[in-house]
Symmetry: C2
Subunit: 142 residues, 2 copies
DNA sequence: AAAGATTGACTAATCAATCTTG
DNA sequence: CAAGATTGATTAGTCAATCTTT
């Protein structure tokens, strides 16, 4: 459980550190930057479902997140051309700018905080492996 | 930023996996188990401030968390004997039981999900080092 | 004034119920 | 009936204002 505690704490503190700098630089916070990055990767064809999966939030939360992105003029839904249950979410010009500017700053902070340490590469690779394990459904069910 | 994304996602998914099993076993969730562990370590003399620091939440959130622990009969405040601004928070019998039972299950899930992998030890040690860096105030301020 | 804590207004997550389309 | 998404009720976090004690 020590591992768990260390993991949670570091993740939270790093998140807050990055968020602080972004907000102080009048950029979108990290909680907005992450979804903008997801939508950017999907290049105009991201769905609510994609936000849900890639951010590890529920589908309900993803739906409301999309609402907020639209409300703030960062993204826009258009009907999915082949499936009327769904929408495609694209970044607006404002959203694209916010993504690229925010990412630039976030990268800088990350480099600053993490250093050019080997640890980062090592931890990153190890986390990928652990994530695979986790995803492969080895999780106990009770 | 890939490192960051991997870190956040793994932490979230692991958190949810552990939480799921705890809830399904009729135990307190991980969001309650963690504060119980903090209070347990402080052995009857934990303060709101300790919850705040060790869980990386604000002082306001920690105060409300203490309210909930009391409301649910898991902990109890008593006046700090030497400082009338503060209280000491101790686990009740119920809280102690919940802590030890929950921890037992959480350990099992953790072992299950993480395996006996070297990765865990490696990541743990590396995260400790990164956490030190983060804490030592190397964070950019703007 | 600084430190410890509490409280109220606000934000964003969860779950469950529901609606529509496939 | 499945899949995709939305919405309402609830929960727990943030920040800012405030109060008491040091």
């Amino acid at each position: 459980m020590n591992f768990f505690e260390t993991l949670v704490r570091f993740q939270t503190d790093l998140w807050n550190a990055v968020d602080r700098v972004l907000i102080d630089s009048d950029q979108v916070g990290i909680a907005i930057l992450q979804p903008l990055r997801v939508l950017n990767r999907h290049n105009g064809t991201g769905r609510v479902h994609d936000l849900s999966v890639e951010l590890s939030i529920t589908i309900g939360a993803a739906s409301k997140l999309a609402d907020r992105l639209e409300r703030d003029g960062l993204a826009a839904r258009r009907p999915h051309p082949e499936d009327r249950r769904s929408s495609l979410i694209a970044l607006t010009e404002l959203g694209k700018q916010a993504r690229s500017q925010g990412e630039k700053i976030a990268r800088r902070v990350m480099a600053d905080v993490l250093g050019d340490d080997d640890d980062v590469a090592v931890v990153g690779a190890a986390l990928e492996r652990l994530q695979s394990r986790l995803q492969s459904g080895l999780v106990v069910t009770a």
